[in-house]
């Protein structure tokens, strides 16, 4: 590990001041992602700002009737929070589908949003990777790319966001609360991550002088009609090839509102409002859900080593939507 210094922030104002004053410093909460990258010499911060003492580790009701998850609340504590389990089971199930119990017990909400996109080459310093070293290209586009993006990759980068929790947050339209020198602001989940474009090292729209303080779950949790489906090569030590968060509002057999987020296939959880709109007013027949899945994947592109991923995503979305429509009794 490269020698570095650290500063322990005791309150949000101090953390923001330290972050704003030193653009080269990196924040650390649990470190499950950052320390891994530091061990691989992919990240070499000269200074860490330790956020673990900030008073951001509680879950409380939010003013609009939703639930506010402090940025330092761990994934395990969110998954097992009784109101989250009852009102937002999609979030609990997504968290419990991912990682291992010790990792879930460490990983924080803020860190989960900020975890680096993953690919076969991001943490291999012997290969070109535009995310790690801008301008070097993406070895995976013409190489081993089984786990890489099928939606939204740029010519320079094709790594994917690996989080399960974030797929559920995308479907539920969570709101991310940030604090910077100018005060606090709220950012819709969909506006948080950045497409790779020509600047893949900038994975999010979090300003360099701001920190995440909380994630708000909106009042509507879609508890009655939801499904989280994750497909991976094996059930341990593997990231999702495809994961799906489906959340529906139903009137009898008719879908009145649909949310559909796909994980493991792009630089961020992938949603498509046009695909979701196709479900409105329909019943969840095989044909109807398949049309929505096809619409979401209309621009999907494989790069040679993942010929099955697109079909896998199609089928997984169909299955998740049908399960969500069937409701609790069929789960």
């Amino acid at each position: 590990m490269t020698p570095l210094s650290d500063t322990r922030a005791g309150d949000v104002a101090t953390a923001v001041r330290e972050v704003a004053a030193d653009g080269a410093a990196q924040c650390i909460a649990s470190g499950t992602n950052l320390i891994d990258l530091m061990q691989a010499h992919v990240e070499r911060p000269s200074r860490l700002i330790d956020l673990t003492r900030l008073p951001l580790a509680d879950i409380r009701p939010s003013a609009d009737g939703g639930r506010r998850l402090g940025a330092l609340v761990t994934n395990t504590d969110v998954a097992y929070d009784a109101p989250v389990e009852r009102r937002y089971p999609l979030v609990s199930k997504a968290i419990l589908a991912g990682a291992s119990p010790p990792l879930r017990t460490m990983a924080t909400g803020g860190g989960t949003l900020l975890q680096r996109t993953r690919g076969d080459d991001v943490d291999d310093t012997a290969t070109p990777c535009h995310i790690r070293q801008p301008g070097t290209g993406c070895a995976a586009i013409d190489g081993c790319n089984r786990l890489h993006a099928i939606l939204g990759p740029s010519a320079q980068a094709s790594a994917v966001h690996p989080s399960d929790r974030c797929v559920a947050l995308a479907a539920l339209e969570a709101v991310i609360r940030l604090t910077g020198p100018g005060g606090e602001r709220a950012l819709p989940f969909a506006a948080f991550h950045r497409p790779p474009g020509d600047t893949p090292p900038l994975a999010t729209n979090l300003a360099a002088d701001a920190i995440i303080t909380a994630v708000d779950l909106p009042p509507k949790g879609f508890a009655a009609h939801h499904a989280y489906l994750q497909i991976r090569d094996r059930t341990s030590d593997a990231f999702a090839l495809v994961s799906v968060a489906a959340a529906l509002a139903m009137d009898g057999d008719t879908i009145t509102a649909a949310r559909l987020a796909l994980g493991g296939v792009a630089h961020q959880p992938w949603r498509d409002r046009d695909a979701e709109a196709r479900l409105k007013g329909q019943s969840a027949t095989r044909d109807h859900v398949q049309r929505a899945a096809d619409a979401l994947l209309r621009d999907a592109r494989g790069f040679g080593h993942h010929p099955v991923t697109i079909e896998l995503a199609q089928r997984a979305m169909g299955r998740a939507l049908r399960r969500a429509a069937a409701g609790e009794a069929h789960r």
Binding site: M1, T2, P3, L4, S5, D6, I28, S30, G31, T32, I35, D36, M38, Q39, A40, L48, D50, T52, T76, Y80, A99, S100, P101, P102, L103, T105, M106, T235, S236, D237
Partner: protein, 178 residues
């Protein structure tokens, strides 16, 4: 050839090497201060500074779980956290769970079910199993398998590990004749 500073040779802070900081950890029940640089992981600090080598270093990246320990009663990976970030925490390593005649039932069950084999993953598996039982979310063998995810066994003794945990988890019920 080992080039990293040995634990018995104090590292001299220089202008380019940030100074160590004094932190306090309660390790296996004993609170003690110790001086640590900002960058060693808990795993390295424990093995090299505290000479507690029960916790094993394997992948050093998270997936294998060999370095699982309990911090404030919850299982975490020592290789992915910095020692300096846990100032004030209570850490339990496999040594702290009891040795010799004081070994807890779980360790006896691992021996009884031949769940140890090469033993390199065993300290992490034992700590993870203690954390699993504390969480209280597992009831069946399938639950144990799912919640022991991420603690690898290089010898493939998974059925024996699950049987050992299952036996201890349900010992009270069996003892009561159910």
């Amino acid at each position: 050839m080992h080039h990293t500073p040995a634990h018995d040779v104090p590292m001299q802070p220089t202008a380019s090497w940030p100074a160590k900081r004094r932190i306090t950890l309660t390790v296996n029940g004993a609170a003690k201060p110790f001086d640590v640089a900002p960058w060693p992981t808990r795993l390295d600090a424990r093995r090299e500074s505290l000479e507690l080598t029960g916790t094993k270093k394997r992948c050093d990246h998270g997936p294998c779980g060999a370095c699982t320990v309990l911090v404030d009663g919850r299982r975490i990976l020592a290789c992915l956290t910095l020692a300096i970030m846990k100032d004030g925490a209570a850490v339990t390593t496999v040594e702290g769970l009891g040795e010799g005649d004081a070994r807890p039932p779980l360790q006896h069950a691992f021996v009884e079910h031949d769940a140890c084999q090469c033993g390199d993953g065993t300290p992490g598996q034992i700590c993870s199993a203690v954390g699993l039982m504390t969480e209280g979310r597992a009831n069946t063998a399938d639950d144990i398998r799912e919640r022991m995810r991420g603690t690898l066994c290089w010898c493939g003794a998974y059925p024996n590990i699950v049987a050992a945990i299952d036996q201890v988890m349900h010992a009270g019920e069996r003892g009561a004749g159910r």
